[in-house]
Subunit: 287 residues, 2 copies
């Protein structure tokens, strides 16, 4: 396992573009926007999906997508990956033979901001996953939010992007970004797989909403605590309770709301001692 | 064409759930969250997709999805729709025989917060669409934002939801919400189809980010102006320019940025006269 912290690379010229436009005064401006490009994921000889991505960490994205879709398991041996950036294609090759022709032909895919999760497959596993009773100190939540908001990121430089951060205690370990919030989480799953990072004592932070799919992915990854700046859906809460996942949302400044797995929370700090969020650290609407 | 304005129905008990939890002080609370449930869309005898939705306007959602996917055209005659809320199924029946078996089998679907748009099909049409040179006054932009922010909505009462609003001049005509921003736009498309509302003199407002898919949908709908509180992606900007769509983002308070189709803008008001957004009207992060 690597001890290197993974951070966004907002200075990478491949991830943003400068575009010309005008502002509310009619003055010309030049602004930075994130790249969005298609990447087609193959598992062995089978084309699985085309996702829209900023294009960094293609291997982590592909591995994480397949893991979170139950098309790969943590026991699978990867014999190679081929990435062709010109074609926008990545192929993951496994020792085990895979065949998702039949599953894909069912065409039961979800959306509502989704990558086509096949709920049937995932729910098969869902009830078997037992999440550990890892404690989470509320001081860590505040500390994580402050550190993540202050980390240079594509979000801060170009906006219109989601972030997902793997954390331990009060330390961010890996901060991935992408145009879709699901991609960012999938990259974290792929990173954990590649680096053999265990999920039991980890916390997952996301900038996106706590919908059913985000909860399913987090449980699938074996992480017991999921935090977001954003809000909840009813099904997200229901699935989190079913899986005994700690689900914390609307986490901004000193405030948060926990709607599932609240027994893991250790209130070790007085919220009144938490400073308000700096305005420039507040994420903007719908980003 | 109906003159009725369509507004969100935050008081509808089917669209939200009350859930128990705790706040940052460890005190119990009871909060409102939006419902999220699967809806499977059939076009005639063929199952097309399962989307996650709050569940209102199922017919508009299905029609709009098929229209925006090029599976229906504005010339298609709908001979009936069957909605079964218990099964979570809606069937749209057309006079014309449809067969998307082959197209679906291509499995080229996108994500990054997407509903599985088949880009190939949509791009076939894209270059043929000529958007009219409808003018947009900047005073309308400010007026629309203020009116939309002040309209009672699921967003204001339960959070974690996207909104999409069809507007003419400075008047919101139809405000749809859903857990996925694409669903909200698809409902607008279905509403326009059902009510025979012409797109040429309309403005589309979205709370979501201006990604490639949002631009493709708006162009597909024939609407010449797209506005968002959120930011842009590079491909969204490129496609908007290709289609001569007016693309305005980061619209909050007096500020906005226009990155395409700026010739449609008529700066009829001094931005300094625009009051700052009320804090309670500001949408929260990632919502």
């Amino acid at each position: 396992m690597s001890n290197d912290v993974v951070n966004p690379a907002p200075e990478d010229p491949n991830l943003t573009e400068r575009v010309e436009g005008i502002d509310h005064n009619g003055h010309s401006l030049n602004t930075l926007v994130p790249v969005e490009q298609p990447l087609t994921l193959y598992l062995n000889s089978q084309e699985i999906v085309t996702v829209m991505t900023i294009g960094d960490y293609p291997e982590e994205l592909a591995l994480g997508f397949f893991l979170n879709q139950n098309m790969l398991t943590s026991e699978d041996v990867i014999v190679g990956t081929d990435f062709d950036s010109d074609l926008g294609v990545i192929v993951v090759r496994t020792e085990r033979e895979t065949d998702y022709e039949e599953k894909l032909s069912k065409k039961i895919r979800t959306s509502g901001c989704a990558q086509g999760t096949s709920f049937g497959d995932i729910m098969e596993n869902f009830d078997c996953i037992k999440l550990p009773e890892t404690k989470v100190k509320t001081s860590w939540l505040y500390s994580l939010s402050q550190k993540i908001n202050a980390t240079p990121s594509l979000y801060l430089s170009a906006g219109a992007i989601h972030g997902s951060v793997l954390c331990k205690d009060n330390r961010p370990l890996a901060y991935m970004e992408d145009v879709g919030r699901h991609n960012a989480v999938d990259k974290i799953a792929g990173h954990m797989f590649k680096q053999e990072i265990r999920p039991e004592d980890k916390i997952l932070y996301t900038t996106g909403r706590l919908t059913s799919e985000m909860v399913l992915k987090t449980v699938q990854m074996g992480i017991p605590i999921l935090i977001s700046r954003s809000g909840f859906t009813a099904w997200g809460v229901q699935l989190a309770r079913q899986a005994n996942l700690t689900l914390i949302g609307r986490a901004r400044g000193k405030r948060f709301v926990a709607l599932s797995g609240t027994q893991r929370l250790d209130f070790d700090v007085n919220p009144e001692e938490i400073p308000a969020e700096r305005t420039e650290a507040q994420r903007k609407a719908g980003q």
